[in-house]
């Protein structure tokens, strides 16, 4: 019952020049580490169960197990990562868990398994790396908090579900991992469920994702029912081969799957859950934003890229504007938010917009490269923010300020992350953002490209604001802040390294000898991607991007950087119309709550209940009542006055007759005996006479 596709022969991965396939790369099956990658994927689930069972009794409340499982993942995926650099790997295995009938002349099966190729290896490694850092950080961050074992169990579940998602060889397993991630995020966002806001935020996250999942599930069904197979490799091959049946539904299915991705990757207008999701502890936010949740949508788009590139190009007309709105409009929201985690959350939404726009215009590598670099600096920023929050016991930047003196390590690493995010050369963020801009230009989305450059300006502006309000000026909170313990600062420092240098792996036109570059790593797939990858740096665009970022930093610094007074003043600086619009998050949340959720929960549900209780049950009870009334008529009119009359008459007659005859009953035995004898005599006489 095992299906293995191990490709040792030459298959097609590509390095191309303006979209043309020029070179095929040999893919290896990857040896032990690829073939037993299932162990790596399952280890977090083992940790999850083990922590629930014995976590309470352990010294660090089971964090050892969670970190251990992630460390195993990190080592394992690092081995895979390196082998993939040297030899492209493709290995896929699936266990049939359900065969449910016939379709198109062959059995329709659901499989669970894993796929090891360039894309999934990159994701494994990012998930494992970021998770390991976050878990270690959380050991210290969560010390003395409530339900620590459960927290680490949920973290393990979170990472494990993401690995299942990433490793999925088919859409079914992807859905399982997808909703598993949703479940874990629900558990973690609602970690402090004693307060209603937090559990509401958790529900919001789950439900918004569930709405999007409708798209994912229907899209998966459309593809699966058209191909008779849910495997990504089959979908990709059919897409490359321009399969006619698939072509017929590709745009619709593509849009539906994109809708699913919009939920997980928080694209406008399904982004509403992400800022609220900050209700969870900060390590959760870091994990969610960098590795284990919001990247899932981008990953799905990347996994199905052949579909979008070859058959569903028309879906771009919707995808590009949505992603572009996301990247620009959500960045603006970060400008007016006081909560440091929400600033970062909006920043994530905006960056996800970049990734999505990239993949929508056809930049597979560009999108995943930005995902790769973003994971590092966003994890770094969140953990830095967590460090600050841990120290000042508030999420609000209005309670912070001047922290650079108290928390030097946090400050330095945070600034590195911020600069990287802003896209300052030569930090990681610059290279990936530049590649996105390049792809947009080449594919002919020039106006959206300028929007993205404007987005870079906004990004730099709000990050400068954040750094200035948090670390510069004077301290406005209570107590004396202190630098966080080593267990928290070490992950910051470690994360700062890739946040600085990760971009170097994919400098256009540069290949690092035999290990190639990022493009070739994630190009190790069994089908060519056919996306654009620039052959050299486009200095014009790079200058524009950096200039926009520099302008943003300069403006931000001039507005917020100087001292406490201007900070205060500028922060509440109110532009008419625009400011209330942004403060109210474009009223989208209100629209959903008042326009959709509350009516359904209230009016519609009550209406249905009324229909149920009064109309349908009214019919039932009314029928019963009518039957009762009819019964009474039958009883009183017909039964009592008709049949019963006859019965009673019979009974009455009998009674009277008995009254007359009763005098024969003397009670004396001998009278009876006499009558008896007389009767006998009469009988005998009659017998004699008549015979």
């Amino acid at each position: 019952m095992v299906n293995t596709i191990a490709l040792a022969q030459t298959v097609l991965a590509v390095v191309e020049e303006d979209g043309a396939v020029v070179e095929a790369v040999e893919l290896a099956s990857g040896g032990f580490f690829a073939q037993w990658a299932g162990i790596m994927l399952l280890s977090p689930f083992v940790a999850f169960i083990a922590i629930i069972l014995v976590g309470k009794r352990m010294k660090y409340n089971g964090a050892e197990l969670a970190v251990g499982a992630m460390a195993l993942n990190l080592v394992w995926s690092s081995v895979l990562f390196v082998s993939n650099m040297i030899d492209g790997i493709f290995y896929e295995v699936g266990f049939v868990v359900a065969d449910v009938g016939q379709f198109m002349g062959r059995p329709l099966v659901f499989e669970l398994g894993f796929v090891v190729d360039g894309l999934s290896i990159m994701m494994y490694w990012v998930v494992a790396f970021v998770s390991t850092m976050v878990f270690i950080y959380a050991v210290s961050y969560m010390q003395g908090d409530v339900r620590v074992p459960w927290f680490f169990a949920s973290l393990s579940l979170f990472a494990g579900a993401m690995l299942v998602l990433v490793g999925a060889p088919n859409l079914i397993q992807l859905i399982i991992g997808w909703e598993g991630v949703g479940l874990a995020s629900y558990l973690l966002i609602g970690h402090y469920w004693e307060q209603k806001e937090n559990s509401s935020a958790a529900i919001k996250a789950f439900l918004v994702n569930k709405v999007a999942d409708v798209g994912l599930i229907i899209g998966a069904i459309m593809i699966g029912r058209t191909l008779g197979d849910f495997r990504f490799s089959s979908i990709a091959k059919a897409a490359i081969a321009q399969d006619e049946a698939l072509a017929g539904i590709a745009v619709a299915a593509g849009l539906l799957l994109f809708f699913g991705a919009m939920g997980k990757s928080a694209q406008f207008p399904l982004h509403v859950w992400l800022p609220d999701a900050m209700a969870g502890p900060t390590p959760v936010s870091a994990l969610m934003h960098a590795a284990t949740m919001v990247t899932a949508g981008i990953y799905l788009m990347g996994r199905l890229f052949p579909l979008y590139q070859n058959l569903a190009q028309d879906a771009r007309e919707w995808m590009v504007p949505i992603a572009a709105i996301t990247l620009f409009a959500m960045g603006l929201l970060a400008l007016v938010t006081d909560d440091i985690k929400k600033v970062l959350a909006y920043s994530t939404v905006s960056q996800l917009g970049y990734m999505m726009v990239a993949i929508a215009v056809g930049g597979y590598t560009a999108a995943l490269f930005h995902l790769f670099t973003h994971a590092f600096f966003k994890a770094l920023l969140f953990l830095g923010a967590g460090s600050v929050i841990h120290s000042v016991h508030s999420n609000n930047m209005s309670d912070m300020g001047g922290l650079r003196k108290y928390m030097p390590t946090t400050y330095r690493t945070f600034v590195i992350g911020a600069l990287s995010l802003a896209g300052i050369i030569p930090l990681a963020g610059f290279w990936s953002k530049d590649e996105i801009l390049g792809v947009m230009g080449v594919e002919g989305y020039t106006s959206f490209m300028w929007l993205a450059i404007a987005g870079a300006f906004i990004t730099a502006l709000y990050m400068t604001r954040t750094v200035a309000l948090t670390f510069h000026g004077t301290y406005k909170g209570e107590g004396v802040p202190h630098e966080s313990p080593r267990l928290m600062t070490i992950p910051l420092v470690v994360l700062a390294v890739p946040a600085t240098i990760a971009g170097l792996f994919n400098i256009p036109g540069v290949s690092w000898g035999s290990i190639g570059n990022f493009t070739s790593w994630i190009g190790a797939r069994i089908v060519p991607m056919g996306d654009y990858h620039p052959s050299s740096i486009n200095w014009g665009l790079a200058t524009a991007g950096v200039a926009a970022a520099a302008l943003g930093i300069a403006l931000g610094w001039s507005l917020f950087g100087r001292d406490a007074r201007t900070q205060q003043l500028r922060d509440t600086f109110e532009i008419p119309f625009l400011y209330p619009l942004l403060r109210n998050k474009y009223y989208i949340d209100d629209l959903y709550m008042r326009g959709l959720v509350n009516p359904i929960k209230g009016t519609v549900a009550k209406g249905i209940d009324f229909v149920n209780g009064s109309v349908i049950d009214g019919i039932v009870n009314g029928a019963a009542f009518l039957m009762g009334a009819f019964g009474r008529f039958v009883y009183q009119g017909f039964d009592q006055r008709g049949i019963d009359l006859a019965i009673n008459a019979t009974a009455g007659g009998t009674s009277r007759l008995g009254g007359a005859l009763r005098f024969l009953q003397t009670g004396k035995v001998q009278h009876y005996a006499g009558a008896f004898v007389v009767g006998a005599v009469v009988l005998v006489v009659g017998f004699v006479i008549f015979t």
Binding site: V96, V97, A98, D99, V100, G101, Q102, F103, L108, F110, L112, I175, I176, W178, E179, G180, L183, Y186, G190, W193, E194, Q195, K196, S199, S200, A202, I203, F206, L207, K210, V211, D213, V214, I217, I218, I221, M222, G224, R225, I600, K601, V604, A605, K606, I608, D609, N612, G613, S614, I616, D617, G618, V620, N621, G622, A624, F625, G628
Partner: protein, 529 residues
């Protein structure tokens, strides 16, 4: 063990509980331990035997009836004692025997007023015979008898041990106890359907001789064989027969708009009664669709399919919305059953092998998960002495394990992938994307989308329930109260269900392994190709 394979095994599974009920009557009322062990023994042996049947079942020929026997019973009307299991009934039979045992374990020290375990257990055992019998009966008369047999014990369970609070009846303007209203409504409503069902059976009987059977027959395999040649045709007669049977089965499922007995019965029933009602009795109707309606009257099934599909999806959306308005935890779960059975019926309405497989796994999953939910609701109302959602809160804090199991079950119920509930919902949608050839594609794809939206609503009310019951701080009225978390008997009753939920969720072939060939065969015989 030829005696076991030749019908004795199956007959024992069916009749051991009834035998146990008779033995129970002989045990003095005061000896409760002996009563419990007797009930345990008889249902336990029946369960073990059903598991042996499942273990020795010939999965390679799952489409054939196995372990069966056919004895002459009422020769005058050509009715036989004919039993047997195939891949479709096997999972349900095992589910039924297992849930019965778990129900007895759960009620071990947990009797509702007015106590009297002897009578309660005896009723439960009779119920078990009825339920097991329905799943193995291969003769319409026998089927009808078992189908109706379950009414009586459940009527008494609800009427005697049920909820004693009062309500004002609309229309009648009378105040009655909930249990009396619910039990009567349950009985009459179901009987109303059954009357039509019997008419349908009689219609089949009197027509069967004319269309090819050697004589008029109630024999299900013979009728199925006739059905595969479409012997009953597609005229008015067949239409009416299908309609009559539809009414009977739809009430039992229950499909919208025949569902209103369900919330009342569930809410009023004692915990174990709700569990058995939800876990198994609701399956009798949908099982009958698969076993009787579709294979015997395939053409009619196809004609009726759009109507069934539409009613099913109305049930999904309607049930979910109604859940959002509920204030009583048991009533909420009851309405959720309407939604979940909607998915089962949607699967059946597609008339494809995938859809019917979806229906069966949906039935099994719903039995396990909703059974567990009712156990939990019962345990909670036992501890809090209220089912009012508004008065609960912070349950997770007061009873962490109970809260945890409730959260798990709610997640399973909302169809989280990786747990049992997912497959039924997902595959029903999968099947309705491309239903049987000749059914209206646009309609069924619309139904698919609406059903998928239903999953969102399901998630909504389940999460909202969790938020109101489990999360937050406990209400002040529970201050200083000691709550004991899950006890040993509860663990023993629930653990198998939890394990089954995960096992079927991860490896659904546990169910499909039995059903697949049988369902494929059924669909091929009924609709060809």
């Amino acid at each position: 063990m030829s005696w076991f394979d030749n019908g004795w095994g199956l007959s024992l599974v069916v009749f051991l509980p009834a035998l146990g009920a008779m033995v129970l009557l002989g045990i003095p009322k005061a000896q409760e331990t002996a009563q419990k062990w007797t009930a345990m023994l008889f249902t336990g042996v029946a369960m073990v035997m059903s598991i042996i049947i499942a273990a020795t079942f010939e999965y390679g020929s799952a489409e054939q009836f196995q372990f069966g026997t056919k004895l002459s019973w009422i020769p005058a009307i050509g009715s036989n004692y004919n039993v047997g299991v195939d891949g479709i009934s096997l999972p349900l039979l095992v589910l039924s025997t297992v849930i019965t045992v778990l129900a007895i374990i759960y009620s071990w020290n947990n009797w509702e007023e007015p106590h009297n375990p002897k009578a309660f257990l005896a009723l439960m055992l009779i119920l078990a015979t009825g339920m097991n019998g329905t799943f193995v009966a291969l003769d319409l008369v026998l089927f009808f008898i078992f189908f109706e047999l379950v009414l009586l014990p459940m009527y008494f369970m609800i009427g005697i041990w049920g909820d004693k609070s009062e309500r004002t009846l609309p229309v009648f303007n009378k105040v009655v106890e909930n249990r009396l209203y619910a039990s009567l409504k349950f009985f009459l409503f179901t009987l109303f359907g059954s009357a039509f069902m019997l008419l349908g059976f009689l219609g089949l009987y009197f027509r069967s001789g004319e269309v090819g059977a050697p004589s008029n027959t109630f024999d299900i395999p013979t009728l199925i064989a006739l059905g595969s040649e479409n012997a009953f045709g597609s005229g008015t007669f067949a239409f009416l027969v299908f309609g009559a049977m539809f009414l009977g089965f739809a009430v039992k499922v229950p499909m919208w708009p025949f569902h209103t007995w369900l919330p009342d019965a569930h809410t009023a029933a004692p915990t174990v009664g709700s569990v058995l009602l939800a876990a198994i009795m609701l399956k009798l109707g949908s099982y009958a669709f698969i076993r009787i309606s579709i294979p015997i009257l395939p053409d009619m099934a196809k004609q009726w399919a759009p109507a069934i599909g539409i009613l099913a999806v109305i049930g999904i959306i309607y049930g979910s919305l109604a859940c959002l308005a509920q204030t009583d935890i048991k009533r909420l779960i009851a309405f959720s059953s309407v939604g979940h059975m909607g998915f089962v019926m949607l699967g059946i309405a597609t008339m494809t092998d995938i859809g019917i497989n979806a229906a069966i796994i949906g039935m099994v999953a719903h039995g396990i998960i909703t059974g567990l939910l009712f156990f939990l609701a019962g345990s909670m109302s036992h501890r809090y002495h209220t089912r009012e959602i508004a008065r609960l809160g912070g349950n997770q804090k007061l009873m962490p394990w109970l809260g945890g199991v409730l959260a798990f079950t709610a997640m399973a119920s909302l169809g989280l992938p990786g747990l049992a509930g997912f497959w039924g919902e997902f595959m029903a949608l999968l099947a309705s994307f491309s239903p049987l050839d000749g059914l209206d594609l646009t309609l069924f794809r619309t139904l698919m989308v609406l059903g998928a939206i239903g999953t969102v609503l399901t998630a909504g009310y389940m999460l909202w329930l969790l938020q109101r019951v489990n999360l937050g701080e406990p209400k002040p009225e529970w201050d200083g109260r000691e709550f004991h978390d899950i006890d040993m008997f509860e663990w023993m009753a629930w653990a198998p269900l939890i394990i089954a939920t995960v096992a079927i969720g991860v490896f659904p072939n546990i169910v499909f392994g039995a059903t697949r060939d049988a369902v494929v065969n059924l669909v091929q015989n009924a609709f060809g190709g």
